[in-house]
């Protein structure tokens, strides 16, 4: 049986992992390669790496860090931020990433999804969406609107429409981030996750709001395939941090099927 995944999503600036609260006031933590290696040893199922400056400052992605990470961890690894065209995708995949996450660029130029899917397969294309609760209107019938550019710009696009369109264009997975919950540690937006999961047939990664093991269990009891738990693992803003094993032990008690800790030590020689 396919297990539910625990994913660490890291915001990286100049090779350092940072943690933001509602997309503002980034505080620097530690070198990304060290943080990711520790998470791998701790049993993380997957890592997403966002080069946030590459996206906002319109520069190319930090391939050197991508390469270093790819040599240190042997679980899937997705890279986002600053990917604008096929040549950026080729560079990122060539540096050792498994998947590409596109966000604002996909909204501006949806063709990038189909181009990527045609070239590398749908399984490579993760469309990440920033979703904000707004008043229901003719343009936003569900009351969930898509924002871009680090959640600073509102698009007037309904989140459900965009999710379906992204999948039609070739997204193999959706990462749905609630702007309202992002960095609050107050729990996932379950209504949003249910709405998206019920409307698409690709895996959905739930993002935004994880603060306790109970929050993670709650969202993984929906149809969501994976949960992003970044802050819980390392944010200095939380009263305490959790290990992957601790989170998974709680999920198992709640009857959620997860990948158990491997009892095999790596065969180095």
């Amino acid at each position: 049986m396919l297990t539910k995944r625990i994913i660490a999503c890291l915001d990286v600036v100049d090779g350092m992992v940072t943690k933001a609260r509602k997309f503002q006031n980034n505080i620097e933590i530690r070198p990304a390669v060290d943080v990711i290696s520790d998470l791998y040893e701790d049993g993380i199922d997957e890592v997403i790496f966002y080069d946030i400056k590459a996206s906002t400052e319109r520069r190319t992605i930090d391939l050197d860090t991508v390469r270093k990470v790819a040599r240190r961890i042997f679980v899937p690894f997705t890279v986002g931020g600053g990917i604008r065209d096929l040549s950026d995708m080729i560079a990122v995949l060539g540096a050792g990433a498994e998947k590409i996450s596109i966000d604002s660029m996909a909204v501006r130029n949806p063709e990038i999804i189909s181009h990527g899917a045609r070239e590398f397969g749908r399984q490579c294309m993760v469309v990440s969406m920033q979703v904000k609760r707004v008043n229901r209107s003719a343009a936003i019938p569900t009351g969930f609107e898509i924002a871009i550019d680090g959640a600073r710009t509102f698009t007037g696009t309904d989140a459900l429409d965009w999710a379906k369109r992204a999948v039609d264009l070739g997204a193999g997975e959706l990462c749905v981030n609630s702007i309202d919950r992002d960095g609050t540690h107050a729990g996932f937006d379950i209504e949003l996750m249910n709405m998206i999961c019920d409307s698409v047939n690709v895996p959905v990664i739930a993002s935004g709001g994880a603060g306790t093991t109970r929050h993670v269990a709650e969202v993984l009891k929906t149809e969501a395939s994976a949960a992003i738990v970044s802050s819980m693992l390392y944010s200095p803003r939380l009263p305490r941090n959790f290990s992957c094993a601790e989170i998974k032990n709680f999920l198992v008690k709640e009857g959620i099927h997860v990948r158990p800790d491997s009892e095999i030590s790596p065969p180095m020689n």
Binding site: M1, L2, T3, K4, R5, Y40, D45, A70, R71, F74, V75, P76, F77, L93, G94, A95, G96, E98, E119, F120, G121, R122, Q123, C124, G172, E173, N201, V202, P203, S225, A226, R259, P260, S262, I264, S265, P266, P267, M268, N269
Partner: protein
């Protein structure tokens, strides 16, 4: 010096496989031309994307005939990964592609009404029979899958391991020198690295 060749073609993830082999101290070299096969003793065929696109890339690089000769005539060890498993069969429904045809069978899409497609994530592999790829690994191990299609071999005895995704699906095949995993050994943590190591150890005996 004994070494493994990694088939290096466009849209393959040869770098990830190289990183995994480096981590377990297995010597390797990239193979991206027909001449490359002369320098290596076994090959790993990584794969992401579609079977059709993979076959096109292999064809453009002139690798199909020399790889078939290496594996099917010279009987050198082959480890296919993901699409590298699917292409050993005769046909894939994906883009109606003609594949290598080393083993009889086809590759079919998962049923969309039963499961989310693609399958992405860690699934449990059950041993269908004993095989050296499982050395030191228990049945019920967890490995990382990313696939929309799965292989239906005509000969049931080539299936070494299975996974459950809307029904039983082929996870590992093994027929003489041809081994392949539908999941990504290079991204399956210590279990995957151990399987790669098991392939290297068995290959070194040939």
């Amino acid at each position: 010096m004994w070494k493994i060749g990694i088939i290096d073609y466009r849209a393959g993830n040869s770098e990830s496989v190289a990183a995994a082999l480096a981590a377990i101290n297995v010597p390797f070299e990239m193979v991206n031309s027909p001449e490359g096969f002369a320098a290596v003793d076994a090959i790993v065929m990584p794969g992401v994307g579609s079977a059709g696109a993979t076959m096109d890339s292999l064809s453009e690089l002139g690798l199909i005939a020399p790889m078939t000769e290496f594996v099917m005539q010279r009987r050198r060890p082959y480890l296919g990964i993901c699409v590298g498993l699917q292409v050993v069969f005769a046909r894939s429904e994906e883009g109606d592609a003609t594949c290598l045809g080393w083993l009889p069978g086809t590759v079919r899409r998962f049923c969309e009404t039963a499961v989310r497609v693609p399958q992405i994530g860690w699934n449990e592999v059950r041993k269908a029979r004993d095989h050296p790829i499982f050395e030191g690994i228990e049945s019920g191990c967890y490995v990382y899958f990313v696939n929309s299609y799965h292989a239906l071999p005509e000969e049931d005895d080539v299936v070494v391991g299975t996974a459950d995704y809307g029904g039983r699906s082929t996870a590992i095949i093994g027929k003489d020198n041809v081994w392949a995993t539908q999941f990504h050994v290079e991204k399956s943590g210590p279990v995957g690295l151990r399987m790669l190591k098991n392939f290297a150890i068995e290959s070194a005996k040939c």
